[in-house]
């Protein structure tokens, strides 16, 4: 009750002390509007990137300053603006609310909640801001576990890295990003931001649902500009997501940002640029489409300890057409990022998921950040997989093969099966190490390829029951001592030797 009266007092005081001094703003008038691009007369002192206010409270963004006027994009309500409408400058650039109140929420790129609940933010950050300087950065030296064996062992990602996920439609690009986000649920200091750019509304709902069911949504923010949103919102979405992530990074947190996907982002920017009458270049993209993505991805960083040691790890996604990674946007983003995970529809259709093409996938800085234990057991894995895939194609023709090749094929087939994994079935470091140790000791060779996934699950369950301590020690230290290795092999042997009797122990 007393709280109510105190609140009443505060309200009364605020109303009584309210003093309005008339505002003097710049104004202009709308000359023409095409889709959501508006040409405005007047507004001579408008800044680049300034938010404009139209009649009816609708907002726009000034992106083109000329001598005789301003070109702007509408952020909302484009249908209500008519030629002759008044526009005024607000004097500030586009901001977005940041902070802990965003966790678990779905918002649009201008900070309005999309999940039907009220949202309050105390702090705001400009959507566009400069990337951390060279002196503020430190080299990538901590791993970011995705929980996927194929990624963590062969294409490791470090905190602060930018790793592109590239592939045709329907090859599991988003699934990899989702697995990585789900796997962060146990990391105390890590948050995730998922930027949906030009996605279907149903897809975004599904992603939110998956995260919720996996218990990872409390640490995630979803910034969504769906396919029916203005091109301007789709253009802003990744920058808004990055601004939210930067706020967390500056507090010393590690943030994983997924941009899904940058091909649609480039297309949205292209349609805006064409309507703004900017000169077009290759594939009708404007000249600054490279800078569009490079300035976004430069904002991913690992900060030095003096700056709090936070990080932003970026997982941009790019969709290719018919496997063509030499198209304009894919080559641009490949050259900006620190490596790529290349997914192939052939592998995907053959049931190998994640459908990673090991030969074309690289991680340029991740090795340095990999845990010692993983480094020890995954050394020749890439080579094994690549060699197996080459030989397997050859062996399809029914050529006579010698014994060592047959053995290599048998081994490789099982390895391929071992690397299959569902997005919600993420593995800890120790579990991944245990699987690779058991594989290295040829223990899986006796198992039929179709039973491998099940056997792997059974083995991990067996290990959890019988040598929990060793597993925890590996997870904690990130190292695999020779005695731990012996212990793991012994227990795995007991599991494979004992078969069903081992389970009853």
């Amino acid at each position: 009750m007393s709280q109510f009266s105190a609140f009443g007092d505060a309200l009364r005081q605020s109303i009584q002390s309210f003093d309005y001094s008339p505002r003097v703003d710049e104004y202009g008038t709308v000359r023409s509007i095409m889709d959501d691009v508006v040409q405005i007369d007047g507004l001579s002192t408008c800044h680049y990137g300034e938010v404009l206010q139209f009649d009816g409270g609708h907002l726009g963004l000034a992106l083109d300053l000329r001598e005789d006027g301003v070109g702007a994009v509408m952020l909302s309500g484009a249908t209500e603006i008519v030629s002759g409408s008044f526009v005024r400058g607000t004097g500030h650039v586009a901001n977005i609310g940041v902070g802990d109140s965003l966790l678990g929420r779905i918002i649009n790129p201008i900070g309005q909640p999309l999940d039907g609940r009220e949202l309050r933010c105390d702090k705001f950050r400009p959507i566009e801001s400069p990337a951390p300087s060279i002196m503020d950065r430190s080299p990538v030296n901590q791993p970011l576990a995705t929980g996927l064996l194929a990624i963590d062992s062969m294409i490791p990602i470090g905190r602060g890295q930018r790793e592109l996920i590239i592939g045709d439609r329907q090859t599991g690009k988003t699934s990899i990003a989702l697995a990585a986000m789900i796997n962060q649920r146990t990391e105390q200091n890590t948050y995730c931001v998922y930027c949906a750019i030009g996605q279907k509304g149903s897809t975004v709902a599904q992603i939110a649902d998956t995260l919720k069911n996996a218990g990872a949504m409390e640490r995630c923010v979803i910034v969504a500009a769906t396919a029916d949103d203005h091109a301007s919102l789709q253009y802003l979405a990744p920058y808004a997501g990055c601004a939210i992530a930067e706020h967390f990074m500056l507090q010393g947190k590690d943030v994983l940002v997924v941009y899904d996907d940058l091909s649609k982002h480039a297309a949205a920017y292209r349609s805006m640029s064409l309507l703004l009458r900017r000169p077009s270049g290759r594939e009708a993209y404007p000249g600054d489409v490279f800078y569009l993505h490079s300035r976004l991805l430069e904002r991913a960083a690992k900060l030095s300890d003096a700056q709090g040691g936070g990080s932003i790890t970026a997982l941009p996604i790019v969709e290719t057409m018919a496997g063509d990674i030499s198209a304009y946007i894919p080559t641009n983003v490949i050259s900006i990022t620190d490596g790529q995970i290349y997914l192939e529809s052939e592998l995907f259709n053959a049931g190998i998921r994640p459908a990673v093409n090991v030969g074309l996938s690289v991680s340029r800085v991740g090795r340095a950040a990999q845990h010692k234990a993983m480094k020890d057991v995954s050394g020749s894995l890439r080579l094994d997989v690549a060699q197996y895939r080459d030989t397997a194609i050859f062996a399809q023709f029914g050529a006579d093969i010698d014994q060592s090749t047959a053995q290599m094929l048998r081994h490789g087939e099982r390895l391929t099966q071992l690397l299959k994994q569902r997005q919600d079935d993420v593995m800890s470091l120790a579990q991944q190490v245990a699987v690779l140790v058991a594989f290295d000791a040829d223990l899986f060779d006796t198992v039929a390829p179709k039973d491998i996934t099940e056997k792997r699950g059974d083995m991990l369950r067996f290990l959890r029951e019988h040598c929990e301590g060793t597993m925890q020690a590996i997870n904690a230290s990130g190292k695999l001592s020779p005695s731990d290795r012996e212990m793991l092999i012994a227990y795995c042997k007991r599991f494979f030797g004992g078969g069903s009797s081992a389970k009853s122990e």
Binding site: Q3, F7, I15, F18, V24, Y27, G28
Partner: protein, 78 residues
Amino acid sequence: MSHAILRSAAVLDAKQLADVETIFSTRLKQEIKFELMLDPSLVGGFVALIDGKLYDISLAAQLAELKKNLTKIKMEGN
């Protein structure tokens, strides 16, 4: 003489208009003749548009400002 528009929430009579014009003419040290426009969305008061500058003395703007102030209130302990 400069181009000037006066958007008001209600219709102004000749005396009111003359008063407003005199105020702006003396303040801006130039002769102002307003072209009138009716805009009920302003709730009350008027908005003067003169040479690319906008003088907002409408009730709608004051209410918006008040709303902004009221939502800023934070209570201790919750």
